[in-house]
Amino acid sequence: MTALTSPITRLTRFTRRPARRPWLDHLVLAVIGLLVLAAIFGPLLAPHDPYRSDPSLRLLGPSSQFWLGTDEEGRDVLSRLLVGARPTLLSALVVVLVSTALGLLVASVAALGGRWADEILMRTCDILLSLPGLMLALAVATALGSGLTGAIIALVVAMFPATARLARGTILRTLTTGYVEAAKVMGTSRVTLMLRHVLPNSLDEVLINATLQIGGVTLILSGLSFIGVGAQPPSAEWGAMASTAARYVTVNWPAAILPGLLITISVVAFGLLGDMLQVRRDPTLRKGLR
């Protein structure tokens, strides 16, 4: 599942980090802001009905009526892109939220439940981790039948073990701190100890990881839709859009290229956001940036 961590972090970890400039942070925040706005207000902003096809308007280039042209069924590309932000980004968000929550739960039970619970849960995670993430997601998605819901469940299954491993590590580290010990000798029960003292102090790494994952998940979900396992053709999901329009790329390129471009922009933006949060949390990293 390492493929799901931000490609940007992995690259820069081993190379000299470029100086981070404030304008980059602002740009990242602006791009993410726009993506979020599109996801929320997309259907209201769309100038045309994204699902109304008109054979007489197939594959038109950009014009004053269709700013980004039309696709192979004569639907407005701009409208479909705006409407598509919601299923694309929201489903990625759902995957990350659910897999993070599940990972935290598994890690908490493993850390507190004693040796056997720990062994069973962590070895299960290891088994899931040893399967290539995309393969596992594909297998689960196929078994569940195609559709976005199936793809979301598949990705949660593929992703939570990595989060559980990470969270278990930070939880175990937090468990050895003085205040957890102090709370323990005060007679605090194990569940309270976990909820009040351990989890709040173990969250930041997991949350940064989750932010980094949003980009990767967007990419994989779109990938699944592209190869036909995720969102199905009529729906305006970016991966599915790129998939159907790809055949006509030589005739009318915007319909095929733009969804892919938006996916790329989202992935990079969320990756950079994760990096930003990481530097915020650990200011010593800033030294390496100069």
Binding site: E181, A182, K184, V185, G187, T192, H197, N201
Partner: protein
């Protein structure tokens, strides 16, 4: 005077290393007992065994509080002892508080988890902070740990340990991380709080100066075993175990001039490499042959072959 805490033949193992090897200790109500020893002598391990803090160590022997066996008690019953009957203060005041919670909430925690109402718990927390000499305690309740100085945090930690009115306070080197002035202040607070509550204190330290001025009784540990125990005056005036003597001789004194620092030769025995016989014999100036083979029994006041012989 009845014994509040009785430790008998306690052994603590971590893996195949025996950290504590046959510890005996009796603590009466209202008594201030100092547990003294070098790093690695097993004094903290002994203290942590009382509340069974380290899940990874194996404990054997007996630790009784008011007659109830703590070592074999189910975890759920032991929880009723932690905080309510046994309070504990640790060495590092920086890490004793959760950084993301106001200290008032944490000081009140022992009361809150036992069903005391919020308002009452808050009031008691404020009282405790006031007793610990913290000015404007009501305002401090909402402060976060990083907003307090080390000394304040340690006093807040004592307030937390005492808020549920325990009968026993275990203080594991509570003054080590503080500057000298704050050490004196914190010690005085513990002393006063103990007297006011008729509280038994198990005070762990390596600082003999602190022991001399505050403790009623002293137990000296070396390499996981008790080597000498007595009331504080007798121990300082007439130590019998060679280790205690060497330790007292190594205390620097004013007016003795430069170059008067003495040290015990050799290095402290580690639990993993404990010498056979009396663990102190390789460093002992008066050791005889059987010190290297026989573990001396603890008789009367000390565990040393050379003490028990004339006693017979």
């Amino acid at each position: 005077m009845s014994a509040l805490l009785e430790i008998r033949d306690l052994t603590v193992d971590a893996g195949d290393v025996r950290l504590v090897d046959g510890m005996n200790l009796t603590l009466r109500r209202g008594e201030f007992l100092a547990l003294v020893g070098e790093s690695g002598s097993g004094k903290s391990v002994t203290a942590r065994a009382i509340t069974r803090l380290d899940r990874r160590t194996r404990l054997a022997g007996s630790i009784r509080m008011d007659g109830a066996e703590l070592l074999t008690m189910p975890e759920s019953e032991l929880r009723a002892y932690r905080g309510a009957r046994i309070g504990m203060v640790f060495q590092d005041p920086l890490s004793s508080f959760n950084p993301v919670q106001p200290i008032g909430r944490q000081i009140a925690e022992p009361l809150l988890i036992r069903g005391v109402g919020r308002a009452a718990a808050r009031k008691k927390a404020e009282e405790m902070l006031g007793e610990m000499g913290i000015t404007r305690p009501g305002e401090r309740l909402t402060a976060y740990p990083h907003e307090l100085s080390g000394g304040m945090r340690q006093r807040a930690a004592i307030a937390m340990a005492l808020i549920a009115e325990p009968e026993l306070l275990i203080a594991d080197e509570p003054t080590t991380a503080l500057d000298v002035r704050m050490q004196a202040k914190v010690l005085k607070l513990i002393r006063e709080a103990a007297t006011a509550r008729h509280l038994a204190v198990l005070f762990i330290t390596h600082d003999l100066g602190i022991v001399a001025g505050n403790a009623d009784r002293v137990c000296v540990m070396y390499s996981g075993r008790p080597v000498e125990e007595n009331d504080v005056r007798t121990l300082f005036r007439a130590p019998v175990h060679p280790y205690t003597r060497d330790l007292l001789a190594a205390v620097p004194r004013l007016g003795r001039g430069v170059g008067s620092l003495t040290a015990i030769p050799g290095v402290a025995a580690t639990p993993a490499n404990r010498p056979a016989g009396c663990a102190y014999h390789p460093r002992c100036a008066v050791a005889v042959q059987r010190c290297a083979t026989q573990v001396p029994a603890f008789e009367a006041r000390a565990a040393c072959h050379l003490v028990e012989v004339p006693a017979r």
